[in-house]
C-alpha cells in the first residue's frame, strides 16, 4: 500500500511538471511583455501553440534520417526524467534515489547530445552554427555545474537532492560557498535555458541563434515535443535552485495530502518569483558576444571552484 502511494505521488510529480512547464513559459513571456510596456499574449498561449503544432503535419527535409525523427522523443524523455527527479513540491519521493544531482546533469547532457546531433542532421549551416555554439557553451557549463554540485554536496554531505533539501531546511545556514554556488548556478541556468545574455529565445536573427538554430528545420509534432522539453528544462532549473537554496515549504514523503498541497502552492509561488526575477534581469541586459559567453560561464566554473576550495579549506578548522 505504502509503495503504491509512493509511486502515485511520484507519478503526480511527473504529470505536474509536464502540465506546468508551458504555463511557466507563458508566464515569463507575459511578464517580459509587461516590462516592455506591451500587453503580451495570454499565459495559456504556449498550450495553444503546442496543441496547434501537434495537429499539424510534420514537414521533414528530404535527407532527414531516423535520428532526426527520433531525437525529439529522446530529448523530451531524458529532460522529463531529469525534471521528474528534481524535488519540486515534495522531497524524498520514492524514485528520487534513482539519480543524484550529477546524474541529472548528465541526463540533461544526453538531451543536449541528441539535440546537437539533430541540428546537424539536415546539413544546413544554421544547424551547425547552433550545435557548435551549444557544445562550446556546454564544455564550460557542465564542469561549472559539477563544481556547484561539489560545493552543495560538501555542505550537505550528499549529492542526493532530497537529502540536500532536507539538510537545508534543518540547518539553514548562511555560507559564503553557498552564495558563490547560487550565483554560479544562476549563470549555468541562464546558459542552459538559452536565456538572454547568452541566447535570445525571442530572436528572429538566424545568425545569432543557438538553441533556435538547432531546431530550425523542425516542424509540427516534432517541434512541439522539443518546445515542451525546453519548457521542462526551464522549470527544472528554477525548481532546482528553489530546492537547494530555498527549500522551505516543501512537503516530506510522509506528509499528508494537506502538506502536499501546501508544498504545491509554495512551489508554484517559487516558480513565479524565480521566473519573474529572471525576466527582470533579462530586460536590463543585452545579449553577449558569442566569445564573451565562455568568460561568463567560465566565471560560473570559477565560482564553483572557489566555493569548493573555500569548503575544502575551512574543513580543516
Amino acid at each position: 500500500m505504502g509503495l503504491i502511494l509512493a509511486i502515485l505521488v511520484q507519478g503526480i510529480q511527473m504529470v505536474l511538471v509536464l502540465a506546468l512547464a508551458p504555463g511557466l513559459i507563458g508566464f515569463t513571456r507575459k511578464v517580459k511583455a509587461r516590462l516592455l510596456r506591451r500587453q503580451g499574449p495570454s499565459i495559456l498561449q504556449p498550450y495553444r501553440d503546442l496543441l496547434r503544432l501537434v495537429r499539424k503535419e510534420a514537414v521533414l527535409a528530404d535527407n532527414a534520417s531516423w535520428l532526426f525523427r527520433n531525437a525529439p522523443y529522446l530529448i523530451f524523455a531524458t529532460t522529463w526524467v531529469a525534471a521528474a527527479l528534481v524535488p519540486t513540491f515534495a522531497a524524498g519521493l520514492h524514485f528520487s534515489w534513482a539519480a543524484d544531482l550529477i546524474a541529472i546533469t548528465a541526463l540533461l547532457g544526453s538531451a543536449r547530445f541528441f539535440l546537437a546531433l539533430a541540428g546537424m542532421d539536415i546539413g544546413t549551416s544554421f544547424g551547425g552554427i547552433g550545435s557548435s555554439r551549444e557544445m562550446l557553451f556546454a564544455t564550460l557549463a557542465e564542469p561549472a555545474m559539477i563544481m556547484i554540485v561539489f560545493t552543495v554536496a560538501l555542505v550537505a554531505g550528499s549529492t542526493q537532492l532530497s537529502t540536500v533539501a532536507e539538510f537545508m531546511v534543518d540547518h539553514s545556514t548562511l555560507r559564503v560557498s553557498l552564495g558563490l554556488a547560487l550565483i554560479g548556478l544562476i549563470i549555468v541556468a541562464l546558459t542552459e535555458n538559452a536565456r538572454v545574455p547568452v541566447d535570445n529565445p525571442a530572436t528572429h536573427l538566424e545568425l545569432t541563434m543557438v538553441h533556435e538554430a538547432m531546431i530550425l528545420e523542425y516542424s509540427g509534432r516534432h517541434l512541439a515535443v522539443i518546445e515542451l522539453a525546453a519548457a521542462l528544462k526551464l522549470l527544472l532549473y528554477i525548481s532546482l535552485i528553489a530546492c537547494i537554496f530555498a527549500p522551505w515549504g516543501m512537503a516530506r514523503q510522509d506528509d499528508g495530502v494537506l502538506g502536499m498541497l501546501v508544498g504545491v502552492v509554495t512551489w508554484v509561488g517559487k516558480l513565479a518569483i524565480g521566473s519573474f526575477l529572471m525576466v527582470l534581469f533579462e530586460t536590463a541586459i543585452a545579449k553577449m558576444r558569442v566569445f564573451r559567453v565562455p568568460e561568463f560561464v567560465g566565471g560560473a566554473l570559477m565560482l564553483g571552484l572557489l566555493g569548493t576550495l573555500l569548503l575544502f579549506v575551512s574543513r580543516s578548522f
Binding site: E57, A58, V59, L60, A61, D62, N63, W66, L67, Y73, A77, T78, V81, A84, W97, A98, A99, I102, A106, L107, G109, S110, R112, F113, A116, M120, G123, S125, F126, G128, I129, S131, S132, M135, L136, A138, T139, L140, A141, E142, P143, M145, I146, M147, F150, G157, S158, T159, Q160, T163, E206, E217, A224, V225, V290, F291, L305, L309, F312, V313
Partner: protein, 517 residues
C-alpha cells in the same frame, strides 16, 4: 604520402617504446634491489627506502605512462594507433594501453610499498593534464582514427586521476575511499576497452565502406551505413559519459571519490583534488563536443565527397561483433552493481578495502559509500527514459497528426544542395579552438579579405603549434642531433682507439658496481 607518415609513426613508436621499456627495466631493477630477486612476493615483502620507492614511481610513470599514452609521453600514440589496421588499432587503444595501466597499478599499489602523499600529486597532475589536453587535441582532429587515438589519451588521463585519488586515500589510510577510487578507475579502464574497441571498429567500417578516414570528406553515412551509424552512436554516447551507458557510471564514481577528499590532511591535495575534479568534468564535456562533431560530421548532413556518396555497409559479421560490444556497454551501464562487486577482491588486495556490496534492491542502485550520500540506478534511469519516450510517442501518435511531408530543407528559402553550405569539422571545432586554443596550441590566424569589388579569393591561414612537441621533444631532438654530429667523429678512429674506449667503459662499470655494493 601515407607511407611517409607511417614510417614516421613507426620511428617515433620505436623510440618511445624502447624509452618506455628502458624506464620499466630500471624501475624493476630498483625494486629488486641489491638482492636481485624479481619474484613479486619477494619485492612485496622487501623494505623500500622512501626515496628509492619515489624513484620507482617516477620511472613507472615514465615507463608505463609512455606505453599508456600519458601526456607528455603520448606523442607516439596518435601516430601509431591510426597507422595500424582498424581491428589492430582497437586492440592497441582498447587493450594494450590497459596493460600499461595494469603494470602501473601492480607496481605502484602492490609492490612499491607505502606511497608518499606527493605520489598522488604527481599522478593527479599528469592524469588531469592528459585528460584535458588529450580531448582538446581530439576535438581538432580530422582523421577519424587519430581522433579516437587522442581520445584514448584522454581516457588514460581519467584512469590516472582515479589512481591518483586512490594513492591519496591510501597514503592517508582511508581504505573505503581508496577502494572507491581504485574500483572506479579500473571500471573505467574496462569500460574504455569496450567502447574504444567499438568506436575503432566503427571507424574501420567507415574506412572499408568509403575508403576515407578524413571526416571533412565524409558525411551522410547514416543513410548508407545505417547499422554502423547506430553502433557508432552508441559508442559515442558511452565515451561521452552519458547515462544510461557505462562511461557515465565510472566517471560518476570517480566524482564521488573526489567528494570524499576534504578529509585529506595535505594542503596540496586539498587544492589539487577539486581542481582535478573540475578538469575531469571539463574533459567529459569536451569529449561530448568531440563526439558530437565526430558523429555529426561523419554520419549526418550530406556527403562531402564522392567517396562518401558511394559508401556501402560492411559485412554482417563485422556488424555483429560490434553489437556484442554495444550490448556489454549497455549492460555495464544499466547493471553496474555486479561489475563493481567483481572488482572488490582487486581493491581489497591493492588498498586493503572494498566498496560496499552493491545491493540488488532497491532499484538495482549502486551505492559508492552509503545510500544517504549518493546512489545511482542505471536500470531505473534507462527504464524511465524508455517509458517516457514510449509514452510520448504513443500519445503523439494516438492523439495528434501522424502526417509527414517530405520537402527540401528550409534553410532561409535558398536550399543550396552543394556540400559547402554545411558545417565542416574544422568550423565546428573553431569556437573551442578559439576559447582553449590560445593556451593549449598558441592558435594564430591571419586573414586577408579583399575589399568590395575585388574578386580575388579571400584567404584565411591558421597556425596551430603542438606546444608539448615544441617544448619537450624538439629540444631533445636537437640535442640528440648535436650529440650525434659530435659522435660521428668516432666512426673514423683506429682499432686501438675503439679498444681503449671499450676498456674505459668496462672499468667505469666495474667501479660503479664496487661502489654500489
Amino acid at each position: 604520402m601515407r607511407d611517409a607518415e607511417n614510417r614516421r609513426a613507426g620511428y617515433v613508436y620505436l623510440l618511445m617504446a624502447s624509452f618506455g621499456t628502458l624506464m620499466l627495466l630500471l624501475a624493476f631493477g630498483l625494486l629488486a634491489g641489491p638482492d636481485g630477486d624479481y619474484a613479486f612476493s619477494a619485492i612485496r615483502t622487501a623494505e623500500h627506502v622512501p626515496w628509492l620507492a619515489g624513484l620507482v614511481l617516477v620511472l613507472m610513470l615514465l615507463g608505463a605512462g609512455s606505453k599508456a599514452g600519458l601526456v607528455p609521453l603520448h606523442v607516439w600514440l596518435p601516430l601509431a594507433h591510426p597507422a595500424a589496421p582498424s581491428h589492430v588499432s582497437a586492440l592497441m587503444s582498447g587493450v594494450m594501453t590497459k596493460v600499461a595501466v595494469y603494470g602501473f597499478i601492480r607496481v605502484v599499489f602492490d609492490l612499491a610499498g607505502e606511497p608518499a602523499w606527493w605520489w598522488a600529486v604527481l599522478v593527479l597532475i599528469l592524469g588531469a593534464g592528459s585528460a584535458v589536453l588529450g580531448v582538446l587535441h581530439a576535438v581538432l582532429q580530422r582523421d577519424l582514427k587519430r581522433l579516437l587515438a587522442y581520445s584514448t589519451v584522454e581516457n588514460i588521463g581519467i584512469i590516472f586521476i582515479g589512481l591518483g585519488l586512490g594513492l591519496a586515500f591510501k597514503t592517508n589510510n582511508m581504505a573505503g575511499a581508496a577502494a572507491l577510487a581504485v574500483t572506479a578507475s579500473i571500471f573505467h579502464a574496462f569500460n574504455h576497452s569496450l567502447f574504444k574497441s567499438l568506436l575503432f571498429f566503427g571507424a574501420g567500417n567507415v574506412l572499408t565502406g568509403s575508403g576515407e578516414r578524413d571526416i571533412e570528406k565524409l558525411g551522410g553515412l547514416v543513410h548508407r551505413m545505417p547499422e554502423t551509424a547506430y553502433l557508432f552512436l552508441g559508442g559515442c554516447l558511452a565515451i561521452s559519459a552519458l547515462p544510461p551507458l557505462n562511461g557515465f557510471v565510472s566517471e560518476w564514481l570517480i566524482l564521488q571519490a573526489i567528494l570524499l577528499s576534504p578529509d585529506l590532511p595535505q594542503w596540496a591535495l586539498r587544492f589539487l583534488v577539486p581542481a582535478s575534479g573540475a578538469m575531469l568534468a571539463l574533459a567529459a564535456a569536451l569529449a561530448a563536443a568531440c563526439f558530437v562533431r565526430a558523429f555529426g560530421i561523419t554520419f549526418l548532413s550530406r556527403p562531402r565527397s564522392p567517396a562518401a556518396e558511394t559508401a556501402h555497409e560492411v559485412s554482417r559479421w563485422q556488424i555483429r561483433a560490434m553489437y556484442s560490444l554495444l550490448v556489454v556497454c549497455l549492460i555495464a551501464g544499466v547493471f553496474p552493481g555486479p561489475f563493481l562487486d567483481a572488482l572488490s577482491p582487486v581493491s581489497q588486495m591493492l588498498v586493503a578495502g572494498a566498496m560496499p556490496k552493491q545491493p540488488i534492491l532497491p532499484h538495482l542502485s549502486i551505492i559508492p559509500i552509503s545510500e544517504s550520500r549518493s546512489s545511482y540506478s542505471g536500470f531505473l534511469v534507462f527504464f524511465f527514459i524508455m517509458m517516457a519516450s514510449w509514452a510520448a510517442i504513443r500519445v503523439i501518435h494516438n492523439f495528434a497528426s501522424r502526417a509527414v511531408r517530405r520537402a527540401p530543407p528550409w534553410d532561409c528559402g535558398f536550399p543550396d544542395a552543394s556540400p559547402v553550405t554545411q558545417y565542416t569539422a574544422d568550423s565546428f571545432a573553431q569556437p573551442i579552438r578559439r576559447v582553449f586554443g590560445p593556451i593549449a596550441f598558441r592558435a594564430k590566424i591571419s586573414q586577408t579579405m579583399p575589399q568590395p569589388g575585388d574578386l580575388a579569393p579571400a584567404r584565411l591561414t591558421l597556425s596551430l603549434r603542438d606546444l608539448i612537441w615544441e617544448l619537450i621533444y624538439t629540444p631533445i631532438e636537437s640535442a640528440v642531433l648535436f650529440a650525434a654530429e659530435r659522435l660521428n667523429i668516432l666512426q673514423f678512429l683506429t682499432i686501438r682507439s675503439y679498444l681503449s674506449l671499450v676498456f674505459a667503459a668496462l672499468v667505469l662499470l666495474l667501479v660503479l658496481v664496487a661502489t654500489w655494493a
